[in-house]
Subunit: 334 residues, 2 copies
């Protein structure tokens, strides 16, 4: 038998373990042109919260549906010569132990000599999000103060490290001493702000020296929204760039939230733009080439948070949303 995880009901606020159910399903049988893959690693990402709320641009997950998501998998039975048994590929196959893929729906990892799980993280969708978002939307210049929220997450940590490589002063925001210690000591951010134990506004002011009447943030890479976005936008440097990447703050809310006063954008002559990873497939091979070389040279470190077993995927996702994880959150299948 194969396994899959279904959404039991739509969470009203923060999802709980009981919203997810791991069930046995029939082992799929590949038709002509298809291949059967077994999942090695399943990626868990904050955007999935938005899918199960029914408002993500990639589509909705409704009660009874198997959850969606990207996985790294191995071909175990093929009826397509383009997918050979033993090939390792990434595919949007969902929270499943086994799935059917076609060559069009499978993506080669594009690297070797590094852990295959990186294809879901720093060398996958989050890596591309960070790379395209920072370079195309953040336009980093040497000496820029780059502030990153959710900095110990996979996207945030990648943004900060690319920023350091590009010569920025990097300031990461994360919750708790452990994450902040990792940011400073391992990921080599210049500064880390522990928003759970520090006054966020004072800490930004201290780490991003300002030239009044402007603030000191040249680039704000936002994965959170809400009050963190508000605090950063009150402190933008002249000509700042704000990169809107994720809105974790509103994924659990049923109310349509507001945003910062537009006067803050005018005052700072800021440019505010979003990054949507689906728009940047053309950068994927360049991203993989650059980030894998930074990993090999030691310029970039990678943190993963791996849970074992598909039946633990719901619990791992709840933990991700609670802020208790850092690095790339993955489920490794047994």
């Amino acid at each position: 038998m194969a396994q899959a995880v279904r959404l039991v009901s739509t969470p009203e606020s923060m999802p709980k373990i009981e919203h997810f159910e791991c069930v046995e399903v029939d082992m799929p049988e590949p038709a002509d042109g298809e291949a059967l893959v077994e999942t090695l690693y399943l990626s868990l990402d904050p955007y999935m919260r938005s899918q199960i709320a029914g408002r993500h641009m990639s589509g909705s997950v409704l009660p009874g549906d198997i959850l969606r998501g990207e996985a790294v998998s191995r071909v175990i039975k093929s009826r397509n010569p383009a997918l050979r048994e033993g090939d390792v590929i990434a595919a949007h196959s969902g929270w499943r132990s086994h799935a059917l893929v076609t060559p069009e729906g499978a993506r080669p990892l594009g690297f070797s000599g590094l852990p295959e799980s990186y294809g879901l993280g720093v060398l996958g969708m989050p890596g591309l999000t960070a790379y395209a978002g920072l370079l195309l939307r953040g336009e980093p210049k040497p000496g820029d103060n780059l502030l990153v929220s959710s900095a110990a997450g996979c996207v945030g940590a990648t943004v900060g490290q690319i920023g350091r490589i590009k010569g920025c002063r990097t300031i990461g925001i994360a919750g708790g001493a452990e994450k902040c210690g990792w940011l400073k000591n391992t990921a080599r951010f210049d500064e880390a702000i522990d928003y759970k134990n520090e006054n966020l506004r004072e800490a930004i002011d201290r780490h991003c020296p300002a030239t009044p009447p402007y603030g000191g943030i040249d680039i704000y890479y936002d994965n959170i929204g809400g009050d963190m976005l508000q605090a950063a936008m009150e402190r933008l440097a002249f000509g700042a760039r704000v990169v809107l990447c994720g809105l974790m703050d509103q994924y659990n809310s049923k109310v349509v939230p507001t945003g910062p006063n537009p006067a803050l954008i005018i005052r700072a002559r800021a440019t505010v733009r979003g990054v949507v990873v689906y728009d940047h497939e053309d950068l994927r091979s360049e991203m993989v080439e650059h980030i894998s070389s930074w990993i090999r040279s030691g310029d970039m470190v990678v943190k993963e948070d791996i849970t074992i077993g598909l039946e633990q995927a719901g619990a791992a996702f709840v933990k991700l949303l609670s802020g208790a994880t850092y690095g790339k959150v993955l489920v490794k299948l047994t």
Copy 2:
């Protein structure tokens, strides 16, 4: 004796006539290097509401202060060879009948053969705001749907007409049938939306045909903020540009307002930027050259709302803020 208008007290909400007081003051006497000018036209602008609220980037006007503002004036007595008697210049001389200027504080109008009052409107600060804001921030392309709020105001009418000249489909938002008739029939906007008598959201949908899931607004040039900005941002086309120029909606508010949900920016892949006219002095001569040629060729029309007498300036300003005026609002001194 000379005249000047003082702020009596800081308005809590919408300013009233009694917040302004026209008083007699001593006739200024030019020192060496200065010239005495008599005001011909005083410019009244929405940003002044923000000055008297104490929160405009150009500075504050407090109770007892003479109101600030730009005027077109004639030199009547000079102790500087660079300013000859009879010269007509523009200067930030405030709500005064007479003032002292130096060559550094005086700007030649830069055009001839058109009314001197245009130097405060379509060929002055509002014209430069419209020109720089639309061309640098809006990046108009032929066929773009350009939506402009406060479209019958000097900035808005100039934006829409430049947009038409650049090949955009222009949709203006204004209050009342008279302004909307003027927009369509005289200023030759493609469409006009009377927000006082139409459902704004339905009218935008009708005039900016959309390609779901995106809206139909390629450029939104905003002079208002508030719910009008919200409505437009819900309807942005893929890759839209939002130009934040003015926030009339909040000038009378003591509460710091919020803005639209940042998710709308991400979804539309929009670029949101402000325009601050002080940043664009380098474009002034180019702007005067282009706009004056469009006026002469008939491609651009100019509307002025002229009140006679400095003692009427407060009343004219109250009228401007009430939305009862359109075109460039000026006080002509007697």
